[in-house]
Symmetry: C2
Subunit: 127 residues, 2 copies
């Protein structure tokens, strides 16, 4: 499988597939005689794993850790759960931050008339 097929199969952009091998997130693929990267199903499965993990907001380093656990037959589920729980907490923190941001901005937006006149509570608040 050439890189574009692997990209399609994994759901990642070609550039990203190359990048993930460059930084060692996944193994460097073997090469054809002409130097083309060659992917097999196992490699694609790891790319899919990386994509899904990233979609959950895990950082590259966390993906690296998760991929390590993915490939480790002896890992315990508690190791995985620890990482996922940490990420879940981060999400919850972010949600609270976003909520208060939302409320404050929504308040300003609704209190601004948004007409042709210059007086504006949004600007007043920021300044």
């Amino acid at each position: 499988m050439n890189i574009s097929a692997a990209a399609k199969a994994s759901g990642l952009p070609v550039k990203t597939v190359r990048y993930y091998a460059d930084i060692g997130l996944v193994d460097a693929p073997s090469r054809s005689e002409a130097g083309y990267r060659s992917y097999d199903d196992v490699a694609v499965r790891k790319l899919v794993f990386a994509r899904r993990s990233r979609a959950f907001g895990f950082s590259i380093e966390e993906c690296r850790e998760l991929l390590g656990l993915y490939q480790d037959q002896d890992r315990t589920s508690s190791e995985v759960k620890r990482i996922a729980s940490k990420r879940l907490e981060e999400i919850e923190v972010k949600q609270r931050e976003l909520q208060s941001l939302h409320d404050a901005l929504a308040h300003l937006v609704t209190s601004c008339r948004g007409d042709h006149r210059p007086d504006c509570p949004i600007i007043d608040y920021l300044g």
Copy 2:
């Protein structure tokens, strides 16, 4: 006012104060004979404005736009409201994304036993 006093007064790190002038977000301050940057209250107020706008998640470019409106006596409140509403929508999109992410990950985390055994629904899902 030297830069550290302006930083303290505005609530921004010294590095950031310098940075904001470097990129032209705020005016370049005048200099002392020795080349030290010198800030007045007006400059500090703009720095505060920038800090608050950033805290609302406005990008530097949006801050630039907002600061322009802040300094423009003739702007209408509708111009400001348009930018703020756009940002508010972005926040709401992000909130929804985060919510579904949260729900999916929370589901996985609760369904994972987190014990010493290797079978783990989180890994199963990602792989």
